[in-house]
Amino acid sequence: MIPKVMTNAQLEAAYDVISEGIDAAGAEKQTLFLAKLAFALANLVGDSGQVAEAVEASLRDL
């Protein structure tokens, strides 16, 4: 289970800013945008184990 690190307000803000990012990228480039975003966030997290955990959690229930 991924620990909850952010407050609800922070999660909501992240939800909005990523939603708007996807729209700004446009339909054709949204996958590229999301891959770049995930990679940048992985770098900011700075922990390979946590990145692997997030990848595993994100692959569930697609």
Binding site: M1, I2, P3, K4, V5, M6, N8, L11, E12, Y15, D16, I18, S19, E20, G21, I22, D23, A24, A27, Q30, A57, S58, R60, D61, L62
Partner: protein, 570 residues
């Protein structure tokens, strides 16, 4: 000539009364003596009239139809709304008929992914939510309004023109027997989302409307389910959309679902199409029982508000003032807080006991509340009806996570309507002394109800008007406290003195109601020491509080709350 529908609306369970048009005295040349006219006999117009009458204002309610509205519509009343109805003296039939509840369950791919428990304090008389169809809400309010000697409900009368000057508002009213002019001091526009008053005055709302409609319908079905809010995301028959299920009194169920993309409202309401979907929804809740349709319509979400609710002698309340999404039960519940806020102020102004500027605080306080709600409800709406592809993908991502992860689940909370705190109101005073309180109820917030016995609560005992909650604690009914309470009895407008004391003593002549708080529980909830006081507005919002105070300070706070004194000018 206005000719309203005179046949009762159709329903499989509700009998619509058709109220007769009565020729008003103004059509025979008599002048009206009503200080206010309320346009619209929906829940907000009727509670506005009942509250104005409660404060002694004679008023007329104009309603263009001859019967209450069609369908369950508003349906869910919050605890705060029930408290407002209790203060208006009309809560009893709502409690007798309505279904109270506090739980919401959210399902995704057949699995319950989120349970929302709305908080319930043992000191609250009412549960967080009460479901009651709008027909009944209006019927009970009509009965109360028509029984009140100061209220004249006029059925089948349509506003067709309005004009105002510095002194009066002149309304042009059309009826089955022709038109007449009605002159009054104040107009309360409670004529709903398509407000004729708003249109006649050329006022525009700010904010946004969301694309995409929701079908809302009432069916009768024998479902064995508790009273809860059920929400289903992404059903296979309507990918990406969602379904809401609410229980209503009389064996009726409310179903709400998103109109599938590419479909018009008319197509969504085609009987065969709707019937197939009702079957799918009943399948989803696991009870494929026979059903009968009562009413259906299509609704779309908006977060829109006027920038100002008072224009000259016209005040806007409810959907006439703002259009808010149903997610989080924002419509009627916000409107009830509007009319609770407006009524006492308008009463003081019409009676010449407060300056007209007091009404500015109505607009300031309620526009701010509406904007806060637009912001919050916008978030729920963006989750329920994603406006763009980006929001849609993020919503799907969160739903997918909820099947295995907890961290994003609170994004499924629908941010229920709650009372707004008027923290920055110009009617609050003595902010500098607020640091003396370690907690309690802050200025601008609504006071807390308190359980006094098994079926006995503080709010049951509040009389109309301002309240002074005086925390006597161990103080005797003598000396400075007694002097202050004696003087408070003669203040204008009236202040009801509620004395909260540790032990029974003789407070005769000093208190309008005495509460024995043996364990000091109430004092702790209000963070009050012996001798503390809370001055509470007629709408139950705190406007000043002190751990120790004088008669002059109380008088000043009352003046600030009525717009007759300036904060800090004591």
């Amino acid at each position: 000539m206005h000719l309203p529908e005179s046949e009762p609306r159709s329903s499989i369970y509700y009998r619509y009364d058709v109220h007769p048009f009565r020729r008003p005295p103004e059509m025979s040349g008599q002048a009206s003596d009503a200080a206010a006219v309320v346009v619209g006999a929906g829940p907000i117009g009727l509670v506005s009239a009942i509250n104005l009458a409660r404060f002694g204002v004679r008023c007329i309610v104009l309603e263009q139809e001859l019967q209450v509205s069609h369908g369950s519509r508003a349906l869910a009343l919050t605890r705060r709304s029930m408290e407002i109805l209790q203060q208006a003296g009309v809560a009893a039939p709502f409690l007798a008929k309505g279904l109270q509840w506090n739980t919401g369950r959210t399902f995704f791919r057949g699995k319950e992914v989120y349970e929302m428990l709305l908080p319930h304090d043992p000191d609250d008389r009412f549960q967080p939510m009460l479901n009651l169809q709008q027909q009944y809400i209006e019927q009970y309010l009509v009965e109360a309004a028509q029984a009140h000697p100061l209220i004249d409900v006029r059925w089948g009368q349509k506003l067709v023109g309005l004009d105002q000057d510095a002194e009066h508002v002149t309304l042009r009213v059309d009826t089955p027997e022709g038109e007449y002019d009605l002159v009054t001091d104040w107009l309360v526009a409670a004529d709903g989302g398509r407000s004729a008053v708003r249109q006649m005055m050329g006022l525009r709302m700010e904010g946004r409307a969301y694309a995409g409609g929701f079908v809302i319908m009432d069916i009768r079905a024998d479902l064995d389910l508790p009273t809860e809010r059920l929400c289903f995301f992404d059903p296979d028959w309507n990918p990406g959309a969602n379904v809401l299920v609410h229980r209503e009194p009389e064996g009726i169920w409310r179903l709400d679902y998103r109109v599938p993309e590419g479909e018009t409202a008319e197509q969504a309401l085609e009987p065969e199409r709707a019937a197939a979907r009702i079957d799918r929804i009943l399948e989803m809740v696991g009870q494929k029982v026979p059903w009968e349709l009562d009413w259906a319509t299509v609704y779309s979400a908006s977060t829109l508000t006027l920038a100002n609710y008072v224009h000259g002698r016209v005040a806007f309340v409810g959907d006439a003032a703002h259009l808010l999404p149903i997610f989080g039960v924002r419509g009627a519940n916000t409107g009830l807080q509007d009319c609770e806020n407006l009524a006492w102020k308008l009463a003081l102004v019409t009676q010449g006991r407060a300056p007209r500027s007091l009404l500015e605080s109505y607009s300031t306080e309620r526009v701010r509340a509406a904007r806060e709600i637009c912001e919050e409800a916008g978030k729920s709406t963006r989750f329920m009806t994603p406006p763009t592809q980006g929001y849609r993908i993020m919503r799907d991502a969160v739903l997918s996570f909820t099947l295995s992860e907890d961290f994003p689940k609170d994004l499924l909370h629908w941010r229920t309507s709650r009372p707004h705190a008027y923290s920055d109101s110009a009617l609050n005073s003595f902010a500098a002394q607020d640091g003396q309180f370690a907690g309690g109820i802050r200025p601008g917030e609504t006071i807390s109800n308190m359980r006094l016995g098994s079926d006995d609560f503080l709010f049951d005992h509040l009389a109309t008007g301002f309240q002074l909650l005086f925390f006597a604690g161990a103080l005797p009914p003598r000396g400075a406290a007694a002097e202050m309470l004696k003087v408070a009895a003669d203040m204008q407008p009236r202040v009801n003195r509620v004395v909260i004391a540790d032990t029974p003593s003789d407070w005769t002549g000093l208190a309008d109601f005495v509460v024995i708080d043996a364990g000091g529980r109430i004092a702790r909830k209000y963070a009050a020491h012996d001798g503390a006081g809370y001055l509470v507005r007629p709408d139950l919002h705190v406007c000043a509080r002190w751990q120790r105070f004088t008669e002059a300070e109380l008088r000043h706070a009352l003046g600030v709350a009525c717009g007759t004194a300036m904060e800090g000018a004591i």
